[in-house]
């Protein structure tokens, strides 16, 4: 039995280094593959700064970040909000911010959670691997900040601000969900920048030159195929490439917003997994520290108290309930997968024949690498967990006067609940499905979008404002059609040129 590393609550840089060395060794034994770590100690004010810029170390200037900053600061000052213990950035090296106020135990916990848990997730998960480039992100953000700063100097703050407002309104529609993107890379970006500006402009001009109306324009318009030929879900991309009157710098700004949005896209899809993975590993690493006598009983009690709070799931009728806690669900599922591997019972063998009794580290690693929340849940949510959480599903049809309990945690309900919960994490069911449908290239250049409601869920009335923003980018009239399940247009919103 060795001596504990420290006994008090106060941290010092030497202690953090010692703890880190131990944690690093343990993580290596468990085979966690991570980016190199960069751990930064910050104050509460700096944490608030980091919040406002969505955790990014550098960001371009925009009033909306100021708004978030003010909001957070207010809440924090009034004690309505505790600050996160840590923020971690998906970059290489992986940057983790630790708050100065944390106790020694918290610092160790945060290092295990962020610098080894999240870090290995960023490096391993397929979504992060395809959608983001950890090597280049910091460089890209520096580039974006400088570029937008230059635009402000050249074209005025208001001009740039308005453009960014419009882009932000559509930021969630700047991602190709079904195509694989090219990761952003700083050097290529710069090399291609000039080339692209010139090329884009020529493309756009080309498109519109060919559309000068001729005599039989009316006739031809009817025969003219839709432009775009296929509906486009990536609205920002469509605007960037096709909006007729945009200046090259405006196209570049749109691109920046699109790329930043793309960078955050995997985070939205892997919340449960990412947090579950990090919690699972901080729990294991801390316990291993304890088993090796590196930490005291007091340290461990403090840790367990904090850990239990983080992974608690209040019931639906509790006043603390605010949806399913991704930490709780993720941690429970990761732990459950390990249990199925190490100690399966009859039920597990029936439900998970391929992983029951297998090597748990390999299985977990596989799960971490190849899934997102939606598929992770539909693959790994076990009947036992459904029982533990006492999950039940409720159908809310606005045409019915009452809500209906569609299934509960029993034999006939497991599959149904699993599917329903998986759907809950399916972004394409939660974000409205809106696509670029047509451009009247022979006429007044009106851009038509189509909204295809999922389960008759209507669009919030913010759409009117968004259309105004879209109109500003497109420079001509914009129309939003909502269609029903038969493909008939049932509602049209318009923002005229």
């Amino acid at each position: 039995m060795s001596e504990p590393i420290s006994t008090g609550a106060e941290w010092t840089f030497e202690l953090i280094e010692q703890y880190h060395a131990e944690i690093e060794a343990i993580a290596e034994e468990y085979g966690l593959d991570t980016y190199p770590n960069q751990i930064e100690l910050i104050t509460a004010e700096q944490m608030l700064d980091a919040y406002a810029s969505v955790g990014m170390p550098i960001g371009y200037s925009h009033w909306s970040f100021g708004k978030h900053f003010i909001k957070n600061e207010q809440q924090y000052r009034r004690g309505h909000m505790g600050l996160a213990y840590e923020i971690v950035i998906n970059s290489n090296p992986c940057i983790a911010y630790l708050m100065e106020e944390n106790t020694m135990m918290m610092q160790a916990l945060v290092i295990a959670h962020a610098s080894y848990g999240h870090n290995s997730f960023f490096k391993g998960n397929y979504l992060f691997r395809t959608w983001t480039d950890a090597e280049a992100i910091i460089d890209y953000l520096v580039f974006a900040k400088r570029y937008i700063g230059e635009c402000e100097e050249r074209y005025g703050i208001d001009e740039v601000e308005n453009l960014l407002d419009s882009c932000h309104a559509l930021q969630n529609h700047g991602v190709d969900r079904y195509k694989r993107p090219y990761p952003v890379s700083m050097r290529e970006e710069q090399e291609r920048l000039k080339e692209r500006e010139a090329y884009l402009q020529s493309q756009v001009n080309d498109l519109w030159h060919k559309t000068i109306p001729r005599k039989e324009a009316e006739e031809e318009r009817k025969r003219q195929p839709n432009f775009p030929e296929e509906p486009q879900e990536n609205i920002l991309y469509f605007i960037e490439k096709n909006a007729p009157l945009l200046e090259p710098w405006q196209r570049e700004v749109i691109r920046i917003v699109r790329k930043v949005g793309q960078y955050f896209y995997p985070q939205r899809q892997t919340q449960v997994m990412n947090e579950g993975w990090a919690c699972f590993w901080h729990y294991h690493i801390m316990n291993t520290l304890y088993d090796r006598g590196k930490v005291t009983d007091g340290f461990m009690l403090e840790f367990l108290q904090s850990h239990t709070n983080v992974v608690a799931q209040p019931d639906f009728d509790s006043k603390f309930f605010s949806g399913i806690n991704p930490y709780a669900l993720g941690y429970a599922m990761m732990t459950d997968i390990k249990r199925i591997c190490v100690d399966p019972d009859e039920e597990d063998r029936k439900w998970f024949p391929d992983i029951a009794g297998s090597d748990w580290q390999q299985t977990l690693d596989f799960a971490m690498r190849n899934f997102k929340d939606e598929s992770f849940i539909s693959q790994f949510l076990s009947p036992r967990l459904i029982r533990d959480f006492k999950l039940f599903s409720i159908l809310d049809d606005e045409e019915q006067s009452e809500l209906e309990v569609t299934s509960i945690h029993n034999d006939s309900g497991y599959r149904y609940i699993r599917q329903a919960l998986s759907n809950q994490y399916n972004l394409s069911m939660n974000d409205p499905n809106i696509q670029v449908y047509n451009v009247d290239i022979r006429g007044d250049r009106t851009l038509t979008l189509r909204h295809i409601p999922h389960n008759k869920v209507p669009l919030a009335d913010t759409s009117e404002e968004v259309l105004k923003h879209l109109r500003r980018l497109w420079s001509f009239g914009v129309k939003l059609e909502t269609i029903d399940s038969d493909g008939e247009v049932i509602k049209t919103e318009e923002c005229a040129a």
Binding site: E24, P36, S61, G66, Y97, H173, D396, E398, N430
Partner: protein, 420 residues
């Protein structure tokens, strides 16, 4: 091994730019909120910022979102009594299974409330305003002066000797004066050394050299360590400074005709004036003079809240102002501002006297005299007499306030930036 970096010494306030952008964008709304709130502040409370509230709907960032309604299915934890097929009454607050928690706790359509600092507050409040005639008066009446450093001189009093500079020039003088003899000394020493090593050297020459070396050494030694020539003195010059102190006279009628509401309006006006003066002057004294038939100097509390009855003689307050200026605030040292609030009542024979005192005795000494008449009735004698002053004196201004809402616009009217 991980990099461990202490970022705590880094500048905080990375969000300052974004915060400024936010204030800039919502300037109109913030200014509106501020002008509605000024009445609630105490007159001398300028040390705090202000909490500003602007409607949330103005600052939302719209995105395409799903609304309530349609067909939704949700999974919830912690089932206790439900079985499949149970029907539950829809909770109030709309669809969505659990009601709308956000708006229950009152965060839905609330205003967006945030603090701005004192400086930001005053900037917004007095945006585009300036003190009238400030520049002109300063030039003619700059009386205060201040010693400022102005390099170094070659003569001065011993207390101002700059030791570093003096020693530095002494050193360079010594180097310069000793250069020639020292070079010669080295030459002779080398020659002497050669002579000594030579067997049977020229004895006479040797003695001659030794003598010359001795003489040179003495000469070098005699270069003075420091000379009056070396002395450098810190130089100070007197630079005229605009006086940075101001006094503000608050004159108010407290006769029977002034009710509490009218006084309240006056108070708010004075607050604004005070805040505005503190922006231009480091120290602002406030003198409260209230009057009915007699004037009296009082403190803030008594000024605003105690009641008196009786007739009204405005000139009594003007005379008192004049006397206090003579006793305590010489116009050469003080920037004097005065603001008078009244409901326009005055004893008829007194109004010409007021006009005369102002025109002949007060206005020449004052930076600015502002008269506000707070009444909903017709103007009376005082107003028309004051109007006579308006044409002749550009540091006199008068405005009419009817309602609370008029205060801020009237104030802005007084101090609007003059375009020349």
């Amino acid at each position: 091994m991980a990099q461990l970096i202490d970022r705590r010494p880094n500048a905080k306030g990375k969000s300052t730019v974004n915060r400024q952008r936010f204030l800039r964008r919502y300037k109109t709304q913030i200014k509106k909120a501020i002008s509605e709130q000024i009445s609630e502040r105490s007159i001398t409370n300028v040390d705090s910022g202000e909490s500003v509230s602007i409607p949330t709907r103005d600052i939302t960032e719209p995105t395409f979102r799903n609304d309530q309604g349609g067909v939704r299915e949700g999974v919830y934890p912690g089932n206790k009594e439900f079985a499949r097929g149970d029907k539950i009454k829809r909770p109030p607050g709309g669809a969505g299974g659990k009601g709308d928690r956000a708006s229950d706790s009152g965060e839905g359509e609330d205003d967006f409330v945030f603090e701005i600092s004192k400086d930001e507050y005053l900037d917004m409040l007095f945006d585009d305003l300036e003190l009238p005639n400030l520049q002109k008066n300063q030039l003619s009446k700059m009386t205060k002066s201040k010693s400022v450093r102005a390099g170094f001189t070659n003569d001065g009093v011993p207390t101002n000797i700059n030791i570093v500079r003096s020693l530095r020039s002494a050193l360079s003088r010594r180097v310069a004066m000793g250069a020639e003899p020292r070079r010669r000394l080295h030459e002779l020493e080398a020659e002497l050394l050669g002579l000594q090593q030579e067997v049977g050297g020229d004895e006479n020459r040797r003695r001659e050299l030794e003598g010359e070396i001795e003489a040179l050494r003495n000469r070098i030694k005699k270069i003075p360590f420091i000379d009056t020539f070396d002395l450098r003195f810190n130089n100070f010059v007197q630079r005229p400074e605009p006086t940075s102190q101001a006094v503000m006279f608050c004159l108010m009628d407290v006769s029977g005709s002034m009710d509490q509401e009218t006084k309240d309006i006056a108070k708010r006006f004075y607050i604004l004036l005070y805040l505005f003066l503190t922006r231009s002057y480091r120290d602002v004294d406030v003198v409260y003079i209230r009057h009915h038939t007699q004037a009296k100097e009082v403190d803030e509390e008594e000024f605003f809240y105690s009641r008196e009855t009786g007739g009204t003689i405005v000139s009594s307050a003007l005379e008192m102002t004049r006397d206090i200026i003579a006793q305590r605030y010489p116009p050469s040292d003080w920037n004097i501002y005065a603001a008078q609030a009244s409901d326009g009542d005055n004893w008829n024979d007194d109004s010409p006297v007021c006009e005369q005192i102002l025109a002949q005795q007060l206005l020449p000494q004052l930076r600015y005299y502002a008269y506000v008449e707070i009444t909903r009735r017709e103007h009376q004698g005082l107003w028309s007499h004051y109007e006579n002053l308006l044409a002749k004196h550009d540091n006199f201004a008068m405005q009419h306030i009817r309602e609370y809402e008029d205060i801020y616009p009237v104030f802005r009217e007084f101090f609007r930036k003059q375009t020349q």
